[in-house]
């Protein structure tokens, strides 16, 4: 099934073109094409994962050129599960976007391009190829952020574009130094040649520095994070759910990010700042160079994608039900919308790392790895960051469950006061218009909350899946 690997990248691109062409003929065909494509993509991802589970690392040589000269796509114990995650979240966000919009065909074309770019970044085994896929991902993400109705989203998208391009260009320059130092662009080959050239030679050091800096700008590490909260907060709800879960897939300054989150009032912006800090924890986990911490990093990466994607989706649902967007406006939400409030609470607590949710398992492994490899400071920082996470999450929960409903708010409440989401909402609010929240949107949030808890029990399974890959990396 090595063909599935290349199809996982090519298929979404073809589907994107198909969605555009179908849009010329039929008005609202975009969603159907995208949904079909996402289902196929998930099927491909699962079949790749199964073949990796059976046969270990599989590679596909593009165009029949043999690596290291040719470009290869690689599926292994790390890339295959992440690909499944991407495909699953893509499908879930589509289900959510069915009602939440945006509805234009162009939106779904760009969305599928983003899926293709992400699949490419995950699967590629060539460092220049990775630059190209990073930029495809970037271009699609800029366009999606700009698709918000508010013109502020255009400003945020331009800011994102300028910083993202600088980051990717630094990555390209680093790839150039690596090529000059070793004469190869293949990742596996690079690792071997770097060892021959020696890790202290100047071009190698310059290459590492530039590639890491470039990627950190992309993933919004503090202090180069400034594009992210704007971009998340102004983008359409469906887009921020997707980007937060997947696009910034690695990093940030743990404590500083949390502190910024404590001081934020708009919920979506607060969640974005919290991503900044969670990614910092993941980077710290990999920087420890301990297999245990690396398992924790991967678990936390997967878990964070599920939890944060779910939280953004939940924030979207609440905003559409009640118009509440700031933490203050969440006051008394539990009595008005018990289901939505409950889901937000479950996801938020999973983010803090309350056992048995996945947030706990990831952090547990990272702290364990930190202590094992003699870095108690890192363990302390992670615990301190957990307390800060608890501080901002507790604020939301306290508002929802213990604050009184503000008088103005209660007066201006929609007809559907008694409804608490689900199908009853659909029945209650409809006065000729479509209900703002579809059952599918609620289902996505419920699934995310369920997965956040269920994944917590799968920690050991993930560890055994990662073991072969990690052994290759750490040589243990």
């Amino acid at each position: 099934m090595t063909d599935a690997i290349v199809l996982a990248v090519v298929f979404p691109i073809l589907a994107a073109v198909a969605s555009l062409l179908a849009g010329l003929r039929w008005d609202r065909s975009g969603w159907y094409v995208a949904a079909l494509a996402a289902v196929v993509e998930l099927g491909l991802a699962v079949s790749i994962l199964l073949s990796v589970l059976q046969g270990g690392r599989t590679a596909y040589e593009l165009g029949g050129f043999v690596p290291p000269a040719g470009i290869e796509l690689v599926a292994d114990g790390l890339s295959a599960p992440v690909l499944v995650l991407v495909a699953t979240v893509s499908l879930a966000v589509l289900a959510y976007a069915r009602r939440a919009g945006p509805r234009g065909n162009a939106f779904y074309t760009v969305y599928l391009l983003l899926v293709a770019g992400l699949a490419g970044v995950i699967l590629t085994g060539d460092i220049f190829n990775m630059y190209v896929f990073l930029e495809i991902t970037g271009l699609a993400a800029y366009a999606l952020v700009a698709s918000g109705d508010d013109v502020r989203s255009a400003v945020a998208a331009l800011k994102y574009l300028l910083l993202g391009t600088i980051g990717a260009s630094l990555f390209l320059l680093g790839a150039g130094y690596a090529y000059v130092a070793t004469g190869t662009l293949n990742m596996v080959d690079l690792a071997a040649r770097f060892a021959e050239v020696g890790y202290t030679s100047r071009p190698v050091l310059a290459s590492f520095g530039l590639i890491v800096t470039g990627l950190l700008v992309k993933v919004a590490l503090f202090p180069v994070h400034s594009w992210q909260p704007d971009a998340y907060a102004t983008a359409p709800d469906s887009v921020s759910a997707y980007i937060s879960a997947l696009v910034s897939t690695v990093s940030a300054y743990v404590v500083a990010g949390s502190v910024l989150a404590v001081t934020q009032s708009e919920l979506k912006r607060m969640l974005a700042y919290s991503s900044v800090s969670q990614f910092g924890m993941i980077v710290a986990a990999f920087a420890l160079l301990s297999p245990t911490a690396a398992v924790g990093g991967v678990v936390h990466l997967l878990g964070h994608a599920v939890i944060k994607g779910g939280l953004f989706a939940a924030a979207g649902v609440v905003a559409r039900q009640t118009g509440a967007r700031t933490v203050e406006e969440y006051a008394g939400l539990a009595s008005r919308r018990p289901v939505s409030a409950g889901l937000v609470a479950v996801l938020a607590l999973a983010l803090v790392g309350v056992p048995p949710a996945v947030g706990f398992v990831g952090k547990w492994y990272i702290v364990l790895g930190a202590i094992e490899s003699g870095a108690p400071v890192v363990a302390a920082v992670i615990l301190a960051s957990t307390l800060l996470t608890l501080a901002y999450v507790a604020r939301v929960i306290e508002r929802m469950y213990f604050a009184d409903v503000p008088a103005v708010e209660a007066g201006g409440e929609r007809a559907a006061v008694a409804a608490d989401g689900g199908e009853s909402t659909a029945a209650d609010t409809g006065v000729g218009e479509e209900s703002p929240v579809s059952p599918a949107m609620i289902a996505v949030v419920v699934l995310a909350a369920f997965a956040a808890v269920a994944l917590g029990f799968a920690g050991t399974a993930i560890q055994s899946l990662l073991e072969p890959t990690l052994q290759g990396v750490f040589g243990t």
Binding site: Y142, A143, V155, Y179
Partner: protein, 122 residues
């Protein structure tokens, strides 16, 4: 002093790379005009393209198209890579300019500081 002159004379292509990258980065960060920021972004990328191309040079090498009687060719790979990177750069510029047009039609200005002021006023 002679060392500096030496670098300028023999490594002028790398000096050009550094100047382009630094100037581009300064424009992106320092200039308040959004279009000039986009120009700076282009300049920054061009510097990096030049770096790749300049590493491909082989002393006495011919263009990498197979000919009779030619033994040494310059390395073709960086050229191919940069051809791709230029396409990426053009797409980025197109998207960036589209956003600039939308921002201009809404705010009536291209000055980043004025736009930030208007946003906080909203």
């Amino acid at each position: 002093m002679s060392a500096v002159v030496d670098v300028l004379l023999t490594r002028y292509n790398y000096v050009a790379v550094v100047v382009l990258v630094a100037a581009g980065l300064y424009l992106v960060i320092g200039d308040r005009n959004l279009v000039k920021k986009v120009i700076g972004m282009n300049l920054f990328q061009t510097g990096i393209f030049l770096f790749f191309i300049t590493t491909a040079v082989v002393e006495g090498g011919h263009p990498p198209v197979i000919e009779e009687g030619v033994e040494t060719y310059v390395s073709p790979l960086p050229h191919v890579l940069i051809l791709t990177a230029i396409v990426v750069g053009v797409s980025l510029t197109a998207v960036a300019l589209t956003l600039v047009v939308r921002i201009y039609s809404e705010y009536g200005t291209l000055r980043a500081d004025l736009i930030a002021e208007m946003e906080t006023d909203d």
